[in-house]
């Protein structure tokens, strides 16, 4: 058994290691080391907890058994998950943090003595508020992440679910939670505590169902942030520095990512949360207007010819590449091009894919060196000097309408200036609009050649034609 002062110092050390873990991610070179810092911080926190409780009875055996069970499940998932499924994996993991926070709060409420928070029915006021907030935010994180998971997994439709009075209902439920917490503090009644948790579960569901598939990068980041605030709330209850520091780090990390994603879509955070964007994307856009405009379409042979004669090619990947699992075929294509001394780079829009950095991971998986991959602001000027832009699975992020048409819903969103390339190859299954539900002007430009096919199939065919 170690003194609580000593254990507090160790918790501080583990908090610092967590900061270093995030710091490591500032460059891929230091990132692996950062991850080890994170693991070390976690081991210190867990060991110190065992030592400070000093209970080495049969309970400890059970704790270790449960730890091993959970750990094996986690390890199994981590090794088996395909990289294309990262968004739903992260959403799933967020839900677990949320639920764990709820359970810890419940345990603390049922047995406050074990946490030094007072006795049942006489829990310290501050602790009671902290644990209710931790439980409420945890519950919202849990049910919200479950919905996000279902949407990303495709089990639930990605289109927004809205009904009249939705925001009013959320508002009432939100106020209801605060009122209940107030009464909980007055009465310490267990029923009110359960009600807070149940309503929070409901709020989590209601918050995420109106948000459409295109806004998923924001949702995931937002839930990331919530899971942090939930952890911090529990950290205050347990008076644990490691948990408070971590909660604050994760909370602000998720908030920053949400901000970056919103900015990349030129949308306000509030409008994303209120949802409804991307509704009925396919309905009214199948109007006759696109039949009137001529579209040039080509095949793999044309594409191969164009690229062979180019001296520089920029690849613009998007979610479609992930869906078609085309990243490996793409890499093969790029290798062939490089053999012909063609300069190839990759341009990534911040919201390409379903979560921040999604495309980078997929390209890394396909062994694309990260120094060939550029972010929007670093590469946007290069389009004008390049011969071919190869757009694979991206759509809205290349739409010039965002720069030209103030009436367009995506007006003002930073887009990749693909149309400035000498020629644009656009791999797409059909002319259907993207998630934002807007027709892409790029399809009808003179220098655009549409390649109608599955992204993977088309890329493989181009590879064959490059020989």
């Amino acid at each position: 058994m170690i003194s609580s002062n000593l254990s507090a110092i160790f918790y501080l050390v583990s908090g610092i290691l967590f900061i270093l873990a995030l710091r490591g991610l500032s460059s891929p070179d230091t990132s692996r080391q950062g991850n080890y810092f994170g693991i070390a911080g976690m081991i210190i926190a867990i060991v110190v907890t065992f030592l400070s409780i000093g209970n080495f009875s049969t309970s400890l055996v059970y704790v270790i058994i449960f730890l091993v069970i959970g750990g094996s499940i986690g390890a199994f998932i981590a090794f088996r998950i395909p990289m294309t499924a990262m968004p739903e994996l992260v959403a799933g993991f967020h839900s677990l943090v949320g639920l764990a926070a709820v359970f810890v709060a419940i345990a603390a409420f049922l047995n406050p003595d074990a946490f030094n928070l007072g006795l049942v029915g006489e829990i310290k006021l501050a602790s009671l508020i902290e644990m209710s907030i931790g439980a409420a935010v945890g519950a919202i994180t849990f049910s919200g992440s479950i919905i996000a998971f279902l949407k990303l997994r495709g089990i639930m439709s990605g289109s927004p679910i809205t009904f009249s009075g939705q925001h009013l209902l959320n508002l009432i439920l939100g106020i209801g939670i605060f009122v209940l917490i107030f009464y909980l503090c007055k009465t310490q009644a267990a029923n009110i505590f359960w009600a807070v948790i149940m309503i929070s579960f409901l709020v989590g569901v209601l918050l995420i169902i109106p948000i459409g598939g295109a806004d998923m990068p924001v949702v995931i980041s937002m839930l990331n942030s919530y899971s942090g605030w939930a952890a911090a709330g529990i950290g205050f209850t347990l008076e644990n520095t490691a948990l408070i520091i971590t909660g604050a780090l994760v909370g602000s990390s998720g908030a920053i990512l949400s901000y970056i994603m919103c900015k990349a879509m030129n949308r306000s955070f509030v409008s994303v949360i209120l949802g409804g964007f991307g509704a009925d994307s396919s309905k009214d856009d199948t109007k006759d207007k696109k039949d009137q405009k001529p579209v040039k379409s080509g095949n793999a042979e044309d594409a191969a010819f164009l690229m062979k004669n180019a001296s520089s090619v920029i690849i613009v990947p998007g979610y479609g590449m992930a869906v078609a699992q085309a990243q490996h075929a793409l890499r093969e294509m790029v290798d062939k091009l490089k053999k012909n001394d063609i300069k190839v780079t990759y341009a990534i829009h911040p919201v390409a894919g379903r979560m921040p950095g999604h495309m980078n991971v997929l390209l890394a998986e396909a062994n694309v060196p990260y120094d060939e991959v550029f972010e929007l602001e670093d590469i946007n000027n290069d389009f004008a000097n390049s011969d071919v832009a190869f757009v694979i699975g991206a759509n809205d992020v290349t739409n010039p309408v965002a720069k030209t048409d103030p009436k367009s819903p995506i007006f003002g969103m930073p887009v990749l200036d693909v149309e400035k390339c000498k020629s644009v190859l656009f791999v797409k299954r059909s002319l259907s609009p993207g998630y934002a539900g807007i027709d892409n002007e790029l399809f009808y430009k003179d220098n655009t050649l549409m390649l109608f096919a599955d992204a993977k199939k088309m890329t493989e065919d181009i590879v064959k034609n490059l020989d």
Binding site: R32, N35, S59, S72, A114, P369
Partner: protein, 103 residues
């Protein structure tokens, strides 16, 4: 008058938000996915609370209403800790420079 310990914890919390703010802005955008998975892993340090709930309960009864929640939370958090760190490691392993592969 003595300062309530809560204020100290609040100070740590606020300062950590600032640290998080600056540290996260310096994270390169290409590593945003690993950032999410690693923040997910470290937020599972909530397992500390789960262990307290499981171990510090009534000593005469290994499984009581409070410790059961603790045990479940241990499983949930452990899934996250192992899953989160390992999947991050797996991802980071894939980030390579041009030089590395061209021998």
């Amino acid at each position: 008058m003595e300062i309530d310990p809560f204020i100290f914890r609040l100070s740590i919390f606020i300062l950590s938000i600032f640290i998080g703010y600056y540290v996260v802005w310096s994270v390169t955008p290409s590593l945003h996915t690993p950032l999410m998975s690693v923040t997910n892993a470290i937020s599972s340090v909530i397992i500390v609370g789960a262990i307290i709930a499981a171990l510090a309960g009534y000593s005469e009864n290994v499984f009581n209403s409070s410790s059961i929640f603790g045990y479940i939370a241990i499983v949930l958090a452990a899934v996250n800790i192992f899953g989160g760190f390992l999947v991050t490691q797996r991802m980071l392993q894939m980030y390579k420079k041009k030089k590395d592969k061209k021998k």
